[in-house]
């Protein structure tokens, strides 16, 4: 299998995603520059975190029109696995590959800290190795991670079990206090109806090395690799 990490101008978690895939899991991984137009041959496409185009206008608004995005959309429409982390999630919503939008954190502050996430559904390629209700400790780092959508969209997300991760406390309770940014229904990550596109604000790539405080992010990569039938060599 092969993974692609897309580099937009202003991406800054590209190397971290590359590191997690290539070093922690031994997945052959390439950087793909945003001016490229093809993603053929890649089984997994990652839109990394950062500040694409400085996050000017709206986060992800300009990156969405990068040349590579046509190929990203085609990849998703063909059923390929696509994951957007943080700024990548914002790009996915701007590109309408995922519903809703991400707006300023309730506190108006950027927040960087470890947070607990509860797994809400496992019948998808991204959390297949976890249990519903499992609590993951994964860092967040964003200023605009406040997920919002109209009531109909939210209802549909719930009905289809497209909400994959919610902010919770250490015991797995979904509480107001556990919500770092004001996100609707404590949403931290969602997938599309076809369940092959996943967007999340937390950074699983920052939780793959015990020296960084948590390895709970690994289950997400492991699930993807299992789905793709990849056996780690590293």
């Amino acid at each position: 299998m092969k993974a692609a990490v897309i580099r937009f101008p202003g991406s800054n978690c590209d190397q971290d995603c590359y590191h997690a895939l290539q070093e922690s899991f031994g997945v052959p991984t390439d950087y793909v520059w945003h001016k490229e137009s093809s993603l053929s041959g890649y089984d997994l496409v990652v839109l990394p975190g950062g500040f694409s185009y400085g996050d000017y206008l709206r986060c992800g608004a300009i990156a969405r029109f990068s040349p590579i995005m046509k190929a990203v959309v085609d990849h998703a429409n063909a059923g390929g696995l696509l994951i957007g982390i943080c700024n990548g999630f914002q790009v996915l919503t701007e590109a309408r590959l995922l519903p809703g939008a991400l707006v300023r954190n309730r506190s108006l502050h950027f927040i960087c800290e470890h947070r607990f996430l509860r797994v809400e559904a496992t019948d998808n390629p991204f959390l297949s190795t976890t249990q519903v209700g499992q609590v993951l400790n994964v860092p967040i780092a964003h200023g605009e991670g406040n997920y919002t959508a109209d009531a109909a969209t939210l209802a549909e997300l719930e009905a289809n079990r497209q909400v994959l991760l919610r902010y919770c406390d250490a015991q797995g309770n979904i509480t107001e206090a556990a919500n770092p940014n004001g996100s609707a229904s404590n949403i931290a990550g969602i997938c599309n109806a076809a369940r092959n596109v996943f967007g999340l604000m937390p950074h699983p790539e920052r939780a793959c090395d015990p020296r960084l405080g948590s390895t709970d992010g690994k289950v997400i990569f492991q699930s993807i690799l299992n789905t793709l039938g990849f056996r780690a060599v590293a």
Partner: protein, 79 residues
């Protein structure tokens, strides 16, 4: 062609910045403030003009300058 674009958060959408500013306005001597909504204002100058360019500009407003999921835009063509 010169144009002005106003982009405002939809009424139904949460505007965290508006809420924070409303509270600050209340603290600052206008306690009866009931609402503040914050959007963007853009001034654009382009060499192109004519109906085709205007149509293009509308398209740009819809696709790039605003996000219809959360925002509405108003485009005013000046000259």
């Amino acid at each position: 062609m010169k144009a002005r674009v106003k982009v405002m958060p939809k009424k139904s959408v949460l505007d965290p910045q508006g809420v924070a500013v409303r509270d600050a306005v209340a603290q600052h001597g206008l306690p009866q403030v009931s609402s503040v909504r914050i959007g963007k204002f853009m001034e654009i100058e382009v060499g192109e003009s004519g109906p085709e360019a205007e149509a293009k500009l509308h398209e740009i407003c819809r696709d790039l300058l605003s996000n219809p999921v959360i925002e509405d835009y108003e485009l005013e063509i000046l000259a």
